[in-house]
Subunit: 214 residues, 2 copies
């Protein structure tokens, strides 16, 4: 398996965690989102992924994009070390938590969106930081409410084993820390993050541990 990845990409980081939790070997193919005007915009990469985003997974069956679709695919093709619980309501909850990040927070803080705000709309550094922080704080507030009141929350987002929800939570918290968000108002998010990051699967997936890290 090949994973087209960028060390700092939140979406690639999710898939790296999932691959590691499942103990799957893969070859990391770095795509630098900034260098050379963005390697994701070059025709070699666009032929693989016309969305010009990372990650892209390639295996003997085919080529796949979108982090959540990739993780669901890994779950179906490599069911050992499941990342979804067995019951439909639990599975729905794990997907729900993942999507709170994938649909409500991360898309607003994506590199291409920040570039548009700066280049096309003239946002200065302070306004950019306000934008980034606003959507993380808004999303973490919802997520913390959900985690705090739901009996399914355990050592991890759902129960006492890492799930797909944790594959999404950890990269988002990593970004929040980069943007200097105080995690004190989100004790469950902070606790789950701490429980995850020292596990080998998460350590090996971290941006700083990647071959293309700067």
């Amino acid at each position: 398996m090949k994973l087209h990845t960028y060390f700092r990409s939140s979406a690639a980081y999710r898939v790296r965690i999932a691959l590691n939790l499942k103990g799957l070997d893969y070859e990391a193919v770095p795509v630098h989102l900034v260098r050379d005007g963005g390697q994701q915009l070059q025709s070699a990469y666009l032929n693989i992924n016309p969305s010009a985003m990372v990650p892209t997974l390639q295996d003997e069956r085919g080529t796949l994009t979108q982090s959540m679709a990739i993780i669901e695919y890994l779950e179906e093709t490599h069911p050992d070390t499941p990342l979804l619980p067995p019951d439909p309501l639990g599975r729905a909850r794990v997907r729900e938590l993942a999507q709170m990040i994938a649909c409500d927070i991360h898309p607003l803080n994506n590199l291409r969106v920040i570039r548009y705000l700066v280049d096309e709309m003239g946002l200065d550094d302070a306004a950019k930081k306000t934008w980034l922080r606003h959507w993380i704080i808004d999303g973490f507030h919802s997520m913390e409410s959900h985690l705090a009141r739901h009996p399914g929350t355990g050592k991890f987002s759902h129960g006492d084993h890492p799930t797909m929800a944790d594959c999404f939570l950890v990269p988002q918290v990593f970004n929040a820390i980069r943007f200097e968000i105080d995690l004190t108002p989100y004790p469950n998010i902070a606790r789950i993050y701490t429980n995850c990051i020292h596990l080998p699967a998460f350590e090996k997936a971290a941006p700083g541990a990647q071959p293309d890290a700067e």
Copy 2:
């Protein structure tokens, strides 16, 4: 089953289509996202969904949010009239297409985001429209490339039966038309939309056919 819905919400529209395709009866509970300062922000609704968004689905098992998690749940609990194909690669492709909309287009055009751009950042009507159109055009460009070159594309996004991908495509095209996007550069998207909208499941789910339509 109860579906907390708003006629114009793209995410609620997706779930309405899925429920109808599966022939599942439900009670529509309208949540007006504008009236009364936004009914989704009132404590009665926040108790059900702390994210203050629609849709929320309630059945005898529990309460669920996030449109894609809800549709996956319906697929697992009501497998008749499947919305995902049987093969892992096909399933991944359908999820990928759905997520191209759910993660790369729609979050940028959500009501709360537009409100922030207008209220906090002072965008005028023209700049707002430019923003809305930019992300739809960008996303449709990627999606059309994907649909045009993939042999799995059929009468619908994947093959000749509606799938989860079509549940996401139709509401996004509906919005694109509202924002006066010319569909000529996206012949596959336009064709699939036309093939869908006259099916009873899609007609019944349309914003104009809802009890809370204005």
